[in-house]
Amino acid sequence: MYSRDYRDIAGGALLVIAGLWVGIHSMTSFDVGQMNRMGPGMFPAVLGFLLAGLGVIITLPAFFRAGEKIEIDWRPLFFIVIGVLAFGLTVAQFGMVPAIMLLTVAGVFADNKLGVIGAFALAVALSVIAFVIFRLGLGIVLEPFRWPF
């Protein structure tokens, strides 16, 4: 327990920043227009400042109450982000099988219960399942392997 609710302080503050940015960006980059003929900037500008206002309402009372500790699961967060990133960066150039392999092997490290051999076995199994469902079942043209060079 903390003497202040840092969770809501952080959450609210982030909303204030995001809201102000959206509001100011909409006012300066787009035409706001009149009420009877709104420009493209009016709606997002109002929303942005509304969001910032709500952020303030969330943040202020949090300074005056106790709060829980913020717990972040760093390990799963890290490995799953790496896995999805690897998938996104390889799938277009190398095809779906290498991308799924990278995704699965990195993903398994998030809790590391399967071990290296298990991870590879699962990666192969998932590649086959993906091929059957997406290529054979839904008829989507996705190449299992590609060589860009």
Partner: protein, 503 residues
């Protein structure tokens, strides 16, 4: 067209081989993910969303709907056998379902919840058949002002009634609407918040948001938390399922009350199956002559909520299809799926696409029947599904998320969007913001902006238009009252916490 003609048309559509197949596929998959703790119908629908783009719209919606109500059937199995809700709306079933398992009456509980689910589902479908055309005919008179007011009420209600702080819920709705603004403005053709990235000119794809917030974020959060459950009932024979005469006698009342309660709560925005199930349980406990039996394996305690949540599943389609306004996230995804196929649900939908509307309703009957017919003989199989460990399941979920998103447009950019929303969703989870209102805002945002601009264009910028038209005035006043009540209850809760801390 008469009511009977509509029914026949609906049956013809629902009984086409394609639709029968996708209905079967949908309910079976729904059942499967419902049984598995850790993934519910919502995640499954988000995962299947991209695949439905390749289907005929009727088949797509029949399948997604099947996943939705199928998961409610399946969820009760995990609740009863493991004391772990397989889907959020079957959490109450644990209270009396698991004690029944401990008493060796798991078979009876499983059979009777199936009966209750079917009964509740049937009542919900009947309510839908009767009330949808009525609501649609009223809604035909709605103008832009009424639509805007209705969406405003729906969003405020949905974000506040659900769990957690109401202010945080509304903040997420606003954030969702902002994400909905991204892309080309339909009125002026100006690109907003696209940063010159061509992939963003058409807006953010709903699949990326849904899969990021509910797929990736959920996996990151669950990896260290999902514990394998302990199965108490290894083998459940058909004989052990036969209820006693006393069980049957006690079950009629709860089923009828539960389905009525559920049908009503399903229509309300933001309520959904979980609250309907809690209400069904509360009602049974209140009317019971022996409330002390509840929580110790009372059969009323599973029949009430199980009929209630299935009835709510069905009636939540009423506002989605007749008004085009989804009351909960699942319905928002359903609406998104329809819009991708170029179909905008609303009052005209019932009249212009009777094949789809009545076909869907008839598919509900078929789907519910399939669930009953398959549920009972296959219970042994579903029990074995419960043994699949999460550490093998989550890599498969990640694969379906990535492949599904990539397959929509063959776009690696969309995969990176999913990643972004996954991290955002995880941050929201850590900071205690709920993702459901964000999706609702995202789906309804563009419609709200369009109707707001149109209403103000007609009234020449006079905001009084929202109060001068009677229907819109009622809706706006209800929204204001709701906000006032929320602020007051948030404030009261804050004061209570403050005084607790002072001691």
């Amino acid at each position: 067209m008469s009511f009977l003609d509509n029914l026949i048309l609906g049956l013809n559509v629902a009984f086409s081989w394609d639709n029968l197949f996708y209905c079967f596929l949908g309910v079976t998959m729904g059942m499967f993910v419902g049984v598995l703790p850790g993934i519910g119908g919502l995640v499954a629908i988000a995962l299947l969303l991209p695949m439905t783009f390749y289907l005929d719209p009727v088949a797509a919606i029949v399948m997604l709907a099947g996943v939705f109500y199928g998961s409610t059937y399946g969820g009760s199995i995990a609740s009863i056998l493991l004391n772990v809700p397989g889907a959020p709306n079957t959490a109450v079933t644990c209270l009396d379902g698991y004690p029944m398992t401990q008493q060796g009456r798991a078979g009876v509980a499983l059979l009777m919840t199936t009966v209750a689910s079917f009964f509740g589902g049937s009542v919900g479908i009947l309510a839908m058949m009767l009330f949808s055309p009525l609501i649609a005919s009223v809604a035909l008179q709605f103008g832009a002002a009424e639509y805007f007011a209705l969406m405003l009420l729906g969003l405020v209600a949905a974000s506040s009634i659900s769990q957690g702080s109401a202010v945080k819920g509304i903040a997420m709705v606003v954030l969702g609407i902002i994400f909905g603004v991204v892309g080309t403005d339909v009125n002026t053709g100006i690109a907003r918040f696209t940063f010159g990235i061509p992939e963003l000119y058409d807006g953010i794809v709903i699949v990326a948001i849904a899969m990021g917030l509910f797929g990736i974020a959920e996996v990151i959060y669950s990896v260290t938390r999902v514990k394998p459950g302990q199965l108490r009932a290894k083998d459940i024979t058909m004989r052990s399922m036969i209820p006693t005469r006393d069980d049957v006698r006690r079950s009629w009342g709860p089923m009828i009350r539960g389905s009525t309660v559920g049908s009503f709560f399903g229509v309300l925005p933001g309520v959904g199956g979980s609250i309907a199930a809690f209400m069904g349980y509360a009602v049974e406990k209140r009317v019971s002559s022996s409330p002390e039996r509840f929580g110790k394996g009372a059969i009323e305690g599973i029949m009430g909520p199980e009929s209630s949540n299935n009835a709510a599943d069905q009636t939540s389609f009423i506002p989605t299809l007749t008004l085009g306004i989804p009351g909960n996230v699942t319905m928002a995804l359903m609406l998104g799926a329809l819009m991708i196929h170029g179909i905008t649900p609303g009052p005209n939908f019932v009249v212009e696409r009777p094949d789809m509307f009545w076909g869907l309703i008839m598919s509900f009957w078929i789907g519910n029947l399939i669930l009953v017919v398959f549920n009972i003989p296959l219970i042994g199989l579903w029990i074995r599904v419960l043994a699949v460990p999460y550490h093998m399941l989550y890599p498969a979920i990640l694969m379906f998320v990535c492949m599904g998103v990539y397959a929509v447009n063959n776009s690696a950019f969309d995969v990176l969007m999913v990643l972004m929303f996954g991290v955002l969703g995880y941050a929201m989870r850590v900071l205690d913001f709920s993702p459901a209102p964000l999706i609702l805002g995202f789906v309804l945002g563009p419609l709200m902006e369009e109707n707001l601009r149109r209403a103000l264009l007609i009234s020449r910028g006079d905001f009084m238009v929202f109060l001068e038209r009677p229907i819109s005035a009622v809706l706006v006043v209800s929204t204001v009252l709701l906000v006032a009540w929320m602020v007051w209850s948030d404030f009261r809760r804050g004061a209570k916490l403050g005084s607790a801390e002072a001691k």
